[in-house]
């Protein structure tokens, strides 16, 4: 029975395509997805590593969603993906892509690589790059690039979201614990900024630098390490999950843990089911055979944002899409209970942030009572007056094509200098 219907449906669709638009040429919308594969870092808690295809699977699902819509408009979306440990190779791929006349790139890249990509003279002004991989604050404050949009939340959005929740519960006195890695320092900076912004106090700050195997020793080591003046909550900055997983229940005082472990702020989580999200979660897990994480969601969202702009503007040119996305009329529904739009001063997609524990959604920020003259969503992350961006909401007119940079000019990149 089912096959029969599939065939009938296919025929019906064919009829529809041929009958409603016999002369129109299908619009092709190719999208490039770049993924820098970080070198494997040994962490003490050998918990689940992030999936190797995180992000990519979200982009694929976005393409499939867009094509379901696109078949009614003769819009055909396609994805080309490249994953590499070599930043230079990824940059070269982007250059080739833009030189070939394409303008849509989704990047799951570290901040430094992304910044170079966005300001490369062959790319700046000719392509839109959707950052679905880096939460670096500097890309939203001092190092903005016209043409670079962010669907992944910044660290500041995450720590602001968490801090609003903690402050609302009057958990204002924090014991802060940071890992030694550069990304932990950045997360810690972001926590300190949020604390100051919303009126929390860090009563003590400690850096975890032990090499003890906590899988066996947490119960002995952590209580001693977390002895401090009284506090309401332990906030932790351990992005790779080296030691933070062992903090909950082992602290000297019986206090909740929040930050990169414990109660975690995130752009997406498998426990989100409100606002129709269970439909997206089901589609994703059927497609990928695993749960959707924040990088998957950011990549899915980037593709959906492209789809929305192409559907509404009827054009796939980077300049039109970019102008539409940063214009007043743009809005997108994305299973977060309210419409999302881009900040037109730094290209960040404003969005609610989930606060989750391993298997449940605890809350969603912005919290009630945190007000903003424009939208409460702008209480999360750097607001317009706080950013020193030189960010244009239109792409400059196309310059005459210049010869491509050679590979040699790009290979000077050192991936280790990249901060995620």
């Amino acid at each position: 029975m089912n096959n029969n219907y599939r065939i009938k449906r296919a025929l019906a669709l064919l009829l529809l395509l041929t009958s409603t638009a016999p002369l129109a040429q299908p619009l092709q919308i190719p999208v490039l997805y770049l993924h820098w594969q970080p070198p494997v870092v040994a962490v003490m808690s050998n918990t689940l590593p992030p999936p190797a295809d995180e992000g990519l699977r979200g982009a694929e699902l976005g393409i499939s969603d867009n094509n379901t819509t696109g078949r009614f408009l003769l819009h055909n979306y396609s994805l080309e993906a490249q994953r590499s440990e070599d930043s230079a190779a990824l940059l070269q791929r982007a250059l080739d892509w833009v030189a070939g006349g394409n303008g849509l790139i989704i990047a799951n890249l570290p901040a430094a690589t992304l910044s170079r990509l966005a300001q490369h003279p062959q790319i700046a002004g000719r392509a839109i790059i959707f950052n679905a991989g880096s939460s670096a604050n500097q890309l939203r404050t001092s190092d903005c690039r016209s043409g670079l949009l962010h669907t992944l939340p910044s660290r500041a959005m995450l720590t602001d979201a968490l801090t609003q929740f903690l402050v609302r519960k009057r958990w204002n006195r924090w014991l802060h614990i940071s890992g030694p890695r550069p990304e932990d320092q950045l997360y810690s900076q972001s926590l300190r900024r949020s604390a100051q912004r919303f009126g929390a106090t860090i009563i003590d700050s400690k850096t975890w630098s032990f090499s003890t195997d906590l899988r066996r020793m947490a119960q002995q080591e952590i209580p001693a390490f977390t002895r401090a003046k009284d506090h309401h909550v332990v906030v932790v900055a351990d992005e790779l999950g080296d030691f933070g997983e062992y903090l909950p229940y082992n602290t000297w005082l019986p206090r909740p843990v929040a930050g990169t472990q414990g109660l975690v702020p995130s752009g997406w989580h498998h426990s989100i089911e409100q606002w129709g999200a269970s439909q997206l979660q089901r589609r994703f897990s059927e497609h990928a055979g695993r749960w959707m994480n924040d990088k998957d969601y950011a990549a899915w969202l980037a593709v959906r944002v492209i789809g929305e702009a192409v559907t509404r503007s009827g054009s796939d040119s980077a300049a039109t899409v970019y102008a539409y996305l940063l214009g007043e009329q743009f809005q997108i529904a994305a299973f977060k209970g309210r419409k999302l739009s881009f900040r037109d001063w730094n290209g960040q997609l404003r969005q609610p942030i989930a606060l989750v524990q391993p298997n449940a959604l605890v809350s969603q920020s912005p919290q009630e009572g945190f007000l903003h003259p424009l939208t409460e969503l702008d209480t999360l992350g750097y607001d317009r007056p706080e950013s020193s961006c030189d960010f244009a909401t239109t792409l400059p007119p196309l310059q005459a094509a210049a010869p491509l940079q050679t590979r040699a000019n790009l290979s000077t990149l050192n991936p280790r200098e990249d901060l995620k």
Partner: protein
Amino acid sequence: MIRALLLAISATCSAAALADLAYISNEKDNTLSVLDLDTFEVTATIEVGARPRGIVFNRDYSKLYICASDSDSVQILDVKSGQVIADLPSGEDPEQFALHPNDRHLYIANEDDAVVTVVDTREKSVIAQIDVGVEPEGMAVSPDGRWVVNTSETTNMLHWIDASNHQLIDNTLVGQRPRHVEFSKDGSLLWASSEIGGTVAVIRTDQRKIIQQIDFKIAGVHRDKIQPVGIKLSDDGRYAFVALGPANHVAVVNAQTYAVEKYLLVGRRVWHLGFSADQSLLLTSNGVSGDVSIIDTNKLKVLKTVRVGRYPWGIAVKPL
């Protein structure tokens, strides 16, 4: 004595004959609540399949069709006995549906499959499946039976299906996350709500183009919380009632001028609406607060709020 007699009569007639009865589907209780529209009391609770959402009566009100979403079926309730007597094939995850004026063809939105399934209720068989956009949701059939319209929540379109041959003929792009569509009594206009867009579009059926977009504004409620879902149009052409979701209000729209005349405060997360038989009452299903608000449509006042099951969703009214 007379009172006792009346009571005895009403008891023997079970909950049926003395008033309009509103059937409310309770999404998280797997039940229907039966609400007496004379006494405003719940007179019965009926166990049905998993996650009941859309519900609709057949023409003579002898059967109630129920989308049991998580049971992946449309159930048929025998209204007289209050028993589920059959399951119809429905495709996966049926959420909303509409019954054709021929009283026979049921058009079902299958949210997970991006299709609309057409079921012959007499033969209990699927007679067609039509590809639509991502997450099909709202369904309506024009009063003349010519058009079937489906909304797709992520594609943001209304899909126009020719009921005579089940071909998709046209698509109308609307605001973000279209949830519900409702034809005017004469079928010339179609009203469509966009939940995340926060708007209602009025569309001319003959052109399939938007002629009016309605915005809502409630003092003290953030505009992002104004999320229109259910729509009901009064037969006299005077009003459109729009349920505004987490804004906890129903908007009363002048159906001639499209001006919003009033906002009525109801329960929390108001989802769908249903009229009493003479349209003097309008019921609202309030999901989060688990109750139904009853509105007097002449005075435009909320009369009472009645507790039903958990997450009331759909409303269908059986006349006296």
